[in-house]
């Protein structure tokens, strides 16, 4: 069996004495989409930065990150720069600020191509840039090449960002909340575009989001993160239909549903613990409705549960009522 496109094993990220992320395992195959879900501050963005090798040297990264079997942890920056943009590309959250304001769209696309194909002729680069803009379905692509980012709308800028990410046909596309800064209607278009590109190019996509709806729509697998650890991971169907971790359950229960009238939206009580004061035992226990003595003492490990997913809860089998059963009731 060939190595999966992206394999993260026991990833730990620490800044000084603070453990930001610990024991994260992820696996993503070619042509698949993995959703990484969690609330702000749970460590999903820093995990993605670690994969791209964009963390500063003050941050300690341990464990293993393999891109098609190629170990990335401990690789020198120069070697990582070779990979970035070529084999793995990234789309940032805010297209308003992630384009260079003093370069035209054409120059920026041309640059993304030139970094990895320095010998390509200028004209060939411009032709390729035009193709890329067509690929992301921007209207009047030839005119856009000469425009500056401030002349484009948010959705169009995000399309340009995607075009830049696609410049060298990456194997892995990391999308960090690609639609958070956009209008709802534009969000759907961008997600559709990403899905289409992924299918056409057979890319692996790591989608980072706190939008469960988006992840449920397009991801194949999903990993739920809480306070720097993965609490549940599995196929989207397994995790969404029968969540086994109380946190996952809480997240899903807090989604407003359009066909149901409720007086008050459900929420998970409490707040995400700060980095410095993460609780002993299970990190979720202070907010968990089912917390027992064991939860305060022992940190649960990920283990297989009935749905086929893995969950890190001592009481995964009994803590969460099946969602289906709930709906019937």
């Amino acid at each position: 069996m060939t190595a999966p496109l992206l394999e993260v094993r026991d990833l730990g990220i620490a800044i000084g004495a603070l453990d930001v992320v610990r024991g994260v395992d992820l696996s993503l195959g070619r042509g698949k989409t993995l959703g990484l879900v969690g609330e702000s501050g749970c460590g999903k963005s820093i995990t993605m930065l670690a994969i791209m090798g964009l963390l500063s040297e003050h941050v300690r990264v341990t464990g293993s990150i393999r891109l098609s079997g190629d170990e990335l942890v401990g690789k020198p920056q120069s070697a990582l720069a070779e990979l970035r943009g070529k084999r793995m590309a990234m789309i940032f959250q805010d297209p308003m600020t992630s384009l260079n304001p003093v370069m035209t769209v054409g120059e920026q696309l041309g640059e993304a191509i030139a970094i990895h194909q320095p010998r390509m002729k200028r004209q060939a680069r411009q032709a390729r840039a035009l193709d890329l803009l067509r690929l992301v379905a921007i209207p009047f692509p030839d005119r856009r090449l000469l425009q500056y980012p401030h002349e484009l709308s948010g959705g169009m800028r995000q399309r340009v960002m995607i075009a830049i990410a696609m410049a060298n046909d990456p194997e892995l596309l990391i999308a960090d909340e690609p639609t958070t800064a956009l209008d709802v209607t534009v969000q759907a278009q961008i997600m559709e575009l990403l899905q289409r590109l992924q299918a056409e190019r057979h890319m692996g996509m790591l989608l980072i989001s706190h939008d469960l709806g988006v992840v449920g729509d397009i991801a194949d697998e999903v990993a739920i993160m809480y306070a720097g650890r993965i609490c549940e991971r599995g196929s989207v169907d397994a995790v969404f239909d029968s969540p086994h971790h109380p946190y996952t359950h809480g997240l899903l229960a807090s989604l407003p549903q359009i066909d149901r009238t409720v007086g008050k939206l459900a929420s998970i009580p409490g707040a995400l613990p700060s980095l410095a004061s993460r609780p002993q035992g299970c990190r979720f226990h202070p907010r968990c409705f089912h917390a027992q003595e064991t939860c305060r003492r022992e940190e649960p490990q990920l283990r297989p549960v009935a749905s086929g997913a893995v969950a890190a809860c001592h009481f995964a089998e009994i803590a969460v009522p099946s969602r289906k059963a709930e709906e019937v009731a």
């Binding site: 590309a89 260079n100 370069m103 640059e111």
Partner: protein, 282 residues
């Protein structure tokens, strides 16, 4: 259908907001002096080094600004002096900006120990009063315009280093820089194409304003005998010569007015540039 859209880039011509009266005056003054520098050899005025009349003559129709202690025409010397002052300023500012902003950009981009070491060097240099440091350096190298220029570059580069470091630090943390790194850009490409193009405008404003200051410091050094040597028609040394003749005020008036106008002109220009380039100063 798209042709009906108002295309960006095609704007109605109107009077630029930053082009106010002081800026126009600044343009006028500096334009005049640049013209003088380029064409003074062809003007129908006396040779600045020759003794052309009786000494210490007050202003008259023949000698508009009078004559100095050696009977040389003050107007002619003042106009010829522009060359030394302006060329000096150009040289000093260009080198100080190049050296200073290179060092500042490296300090800001690399950070850590390199940043600390370079910035302490800047602190040390800036802790000397500028005129004192320039005097010390010129005295060590020996008097002369070239050495005065070297001294002033040593005095001036830290200002640009500090300015550029601050700019680079603030631009470096912007998201588009991270995006460039994520696209695989090397350090030099990140710095040159994604950070510096957004960092240079305060440098330009400061450089314009400093032009006048350099003219002033050049004159100061010459005044105390560390700049231009005697027959050279340099404004500072002319004032120095004239200062002995207290009642013959016109000897100092010519170069004095020249210095005043150049400094004022560059300040006006600098203000205008700031209005143009820095959207925060209103």
């Amino acid at each position: 259908m798209a042709e009906n859209l108002a295309l960006p880039g095609v704007r109605r011509r109107e009077w630029p907001k930053w082009l106010k009266l002081p800026v126009l005056i600044g343009f006028g003054i500096i334009g005049f002096w640049v013209l003088v520098c380029l064409s003074v050899d062809f003007w129908p005025i006396d040779n600045p080094i020759d003794m052309v009349a009786r000494r210490l003559q007050p202003p008259s129709f023949d000698h508009w600004f009078g004559t100095d202690a050696l009977g040389r025409d003050v107007l002619s010397r003042t106009l010829h002096g522009a060359r030394f002052s302006l060329m000096m300023s150009c040289a000093v500012i260009i080198f100080a900006v190049l050296i200073g902003s290179t060092i500042g950009a490296i300090a800001g981009y690399v950070g850590g120990f390199v940043d600390g070491a370079l910035m302490r060097l800047v602190d040390v240099t800036l802790s000397f009063p500028p005129i004192l440091l320039a005097m010390a350096v010129t005295a060590a190298l020996g008097p002369g315009l070239e050495n005065a220029a070297v001294a002033m570059i040593i005095v001036w580069w830290p200002i640009y280093a500090r300015l550029m470091r601050g700019q680079v630090l603030s631009v470096k943390s912007r998201e588009h820089v991270e995006a460039a790194v994520a696209a695989g850009a090397s350090h030099s490409r990140t710095l040159l194409k994604h950070i510096l193009p957004l960092s240079w405008s305060p440098i330009l404003i400061n450089a314009t304003m400093d032009f006048g200051q350099v003219v002033l410091l050049t004159a100061s050094l010459s005044f105390i005998g560390l700049g231009a040597s005697p027959p050279t028609p340099e404004w500072g040394s002319m004032i120095s010569e004239g200062a002995i003749h207290f009642y013959q005020w016109w000897i100092c008036a010519g170069p004095g007015i020249a210095i005043l106008s150049v400094v004022l002109g560059f300040n006006f220009l600098g203000d205008g540039l700031r209005d143009l380039l820095d959207p925060r100063s209103k």
